[in-house]
Symmetry: C2
Subunit: 504 residues, 2 copies
């Protein structure tokens, strides 16, 4: 009785979160410019209603009743995990004061405006008081959530449950040690020709070929769309309506092509969550208040990176699929070979901007940010010292001089959006992608044959069974343990990087 009623309340929250996702999608793809402000009101109202419904005394009371009912269910029943997650979310939302929620939202709007101004004038000082305020509020938020070893742990836990400053320190140590020699070897190799990648690629044809590859990977367009946006993303409003977006440059084939591979990976995850989880906690991030089927941000990123890098950027993929590209863009690709294409899209160069970094150097950018966030959260670095420390770190890790803060500490939108704690999930996604891909290839001859011949259905089936269908009902480490026999482990990732970039 209580369990049914509680599930109905969660279904209401889920409908609100799915609707929120839809109006966010619309804001970023369809909305005319004039709609910005009133749309903001609508987003704020729906977020508040979702939170209020979740944190209401009535939900809290139903929860206690539901737990009593569930006590008689067998230990393996998913209701136990379901109630654990609901209780965690309800308690967190009841614990965080409404005043702090409002303060964070209000600072976010102002900090974002200041960040835009600071970037335009390359003046970190304009952003600096807002970053300080954001750090203070984030610290208050972490305190409300609760933490033991490090305040940053509370924020990481929102995106990647189970990870901590301490666990990331170990992981990053291994990665830095492993990546450095690969980077050295890669940079020592002769640079490939990449000029053909920046020839003419008409947008409608890029969109068409993007759809073709998305379908080839198994993305179902009867339950999805591909649209155009400025900052690409994937978003879902239940598994039955999962939309991906990309951006096009008509003189560069890479952003849209690999962007679509990437978002398709996210989309496959969402489209293949168990239908029974629709409108339940297992398809909702009740802490962050949005509808999502992936068990963690890192797990989600692992699927996008797996299809982008392990499938789409592989030599075999280029050999098998370059013909499709050549037929679509005969004028720009007539004189290019599959091998030249592969070498072009696996070119390595050290760069200042994270979003333009290649596969090999990307994690260097991420690790740097995670360390800055941890230091800001525990006060071991002051906001005013960030730009200088950033220059120093870029010099140390990539040997690059940062000419200005716009290409340094002001480059990411995250901090101005109050989003602290999520960066680590990019690197966790890379590591997890390699681990899953290597296991699938090693243990399943069908997957191997498929990848060798351009049939990606066996790989998709392997991932559906072990990752996608579970939605948020199984934690990331448990997903990994069941699928690969161990928890998160950078060995496969480093092996992959060595093979691809150091010619092992």
């Amino acid at each position: 009785m209580s369990l049914t009623a509680l599930r109905q309340r969660i279904a209401t929250v889920s409908d609100l979160l799915c609707t929120l996702n839809l109006i966010v999608w619309d804001s970023r793809t369809m909305m005319p410019a004039g709609g910005t402000q009133t749309r903001g009101n609508q987003i704020a109202t729906l977020t508040r209603l979702a939170r209020d419904t979740l944190a209401a005394d009535q939900t809290f009371d139903l929860l206690a009743g539901a737990e009593e009912e569930a006590a008689s269910l067998p230990p393996g029943d998913l209701a136990h995990e379901e109630l654990r997650q609901i209780r965690h979310a309800v308690e967190v939302h009841r614990r965080v004061p409404a005043e702090l929620v409002e303060r964070r939202a209000s600072v976010r709007a102002q900090a974002n405006a200041a960040w835009i101004e600071a970037r335009a004038t390359d003046d970190f000082a304009l952003f600096s008081p807002w970053l300080a305020e954001t750090v203070r509020n984030t610290r208050d938020y972490a305190d409300a959530l609760g933490w033991s070893a490090h305040p940053y742990d509370a924020m990481i836990g929102l995106y990647e449950p189970g990870e901590t400053v301490s666990s990331l320190t170990d992981l990053f140590g291994a990665l830095r040690a492993g990546i450095a020699p690969v980077l050295e070897a890669a940079l020592a190799r002769p640079r490939p020709d990449t000029s053909f990648l920046t020839r003419a690629y008409p947008q409608p044809l890029q969109a068409e070929v993007g759809r073709t590859f998305a379908e080839r990977f198994g993305y179902d367009f009867s339950r999805g769309r591909l649209d155009t946006t400025v900052h690409p993303f994937e978003i879902s409003f239940t598994r039955e309506d999962v939309r991906i977006t990309t951006r096009y440059r008509e003189n560069d084939i890479r952003p849209a092509l690999f962007g679509v591979f990437h978002e398709t990976g996210h989309g496959l995850y969402e489209q293949n969550v168990d239908p029974a989880f629709t409108r339940s906690v297992f398809a909702s991030d009740l802490l962050g208040l949005y509808a999502v089927g992936g068990t963690s941000f890192g797990a989600h990123e692992s699927q996008s990176r797996l299809w982008e890098n392990h499938v789409g950027r592989s030599r075999r993929f280029c050999e098998l699929n370059f013909g499709t590209l050549q037929a679509t863009f005969p004028e720009s690709l007539a004189d290019v070979t599959p091998d030249a294409f592969y070498r072009g899209v696996t070119d390595v160069r050290r760069s200042l901007i994270r979003t333009e970094a290649d596969e090999l150097t990307y994690d260097v950018h991420i690790m740097l940010r995670v360390e800055f966030e941890a230091a800001l959260m525990d006060g071991s670095i002051a906001v005013v010292d960030v730009p200088g420390a950033w220059r120093e770190a870029m010099k140390r890790h990539l040997g690059l001089d940062v000419p200005n803060d716009r290409e340094g500490a002001l480059q990411d939108i995250h901090w101005s959006s109050g989003m602290i704690g999520s960066f680590c999930t990019y690197t966790i996604g890379n590591v997890m992608a390699a681990q899953l891909h290597a296991t699938a290839m090693a243990e399943d001859a069908g997957v191997r044959d498929g990848v060798a011949t351009g049939d990606y259905a066996p790989l998709a089936a392997w991932l559906r069974e072990r990752v996608w269908r579970h939605g948020r009902s199984v934690p990331r480490e448990e997903i990994l343990r069941r699928a690969t026999g161990r928890g998160l482990d950078p060995a496969d990732y480093l092996a992959h990087l060595r093979t691809r970039y150091a010619g092992d």
Copy 2:
């Protein structure tokens, strides 16, 4: 204090209704087919939350406090009308039992499926039990709303406050008497050539020219969009984001061209509601639970019909704007004159299908439906007798034989959607459009000069001042009285039809 708090609750309801409009728009323009069912859950949840927020005891209590506060405000303060409308809506929603709301929603889904099946097999008997159930539920709903002279009055009042079976009987009598001789005269004239209207009109060019005309009428694309759909409509999510849709036939220029004129008229109304009414009762239909700025359905329709028929279908408009069409479609329109175009798009023919009817015969279809609905509501006709009575009525009013029910009593979606009471607003819109247009042309030389030279800004300014900006803050009859010196009056409409179709 209470007034402020009450307004905040209404703002929350308004945000929910705007969001509902958005997800309805998405369902009909963007959503992949797979999303249908879970989208239905989302729509149901948001509708329920809007209704629950409105009907909550807390709202009811705030209302009493707000009324006390408002008592000290001057009599002209809009707060009085605002509170009157809120009280009316709150009381209605508290009066209608939740069980009846659910019953109507559930029957709607099943009746719609039965109607689709009945149409496909041309078997009214399949739909008949569901229509009977719909009529019963609608009667229960009318009883819950309350009525005195006729149960249908309660339903009409949801769409066109102030109108009743009795008032419509008078109006329809005058219209039938006025239209009959015009129709006779129109049918006696030689039929114009219409063959050029069904030549090749590529969709992208139709869309482009539609945008051009919408802008020429004053529609602001920085706060709007034009998209493709099956059943065209206009919808808004605040005045800052007002979207119109159309459908294209590549071998007929009429549906999209006049469809865009029509929806642009609706859109102009919404885009020009006083910004102060955003998120208030004056931009929300709290009874029907959706965001809308027009004071009644009829008033809204008057704006679409004014721009479609009095502007877009006029001889002067064709003379001034045919060049744009000819330049867009040179192959199909090179041998056509503005005069021939005008005569083609004002061709009159009796037809079986309402949605395909011309300007002159359209009201005949409407009046027939209104009379059927009234008779169903008071039991003077039984559901099983509808098809036969429909044949008899079409013979009597238009001299046509109805070959099957698909082209007869099964043609409209309205009854299967539980939508009873709205048909009259189409005809009221026609009458009101003519009344406003004639007044603007008679009293304002700037409007006349503009229309004569193709500058529609003066007409738009006249309508903005007298109609659009008031939103729902002034009732339809009061709008008409202030603008034209009298209430709804068919004289101008009949004069217009005589001039255009009987060559007066």
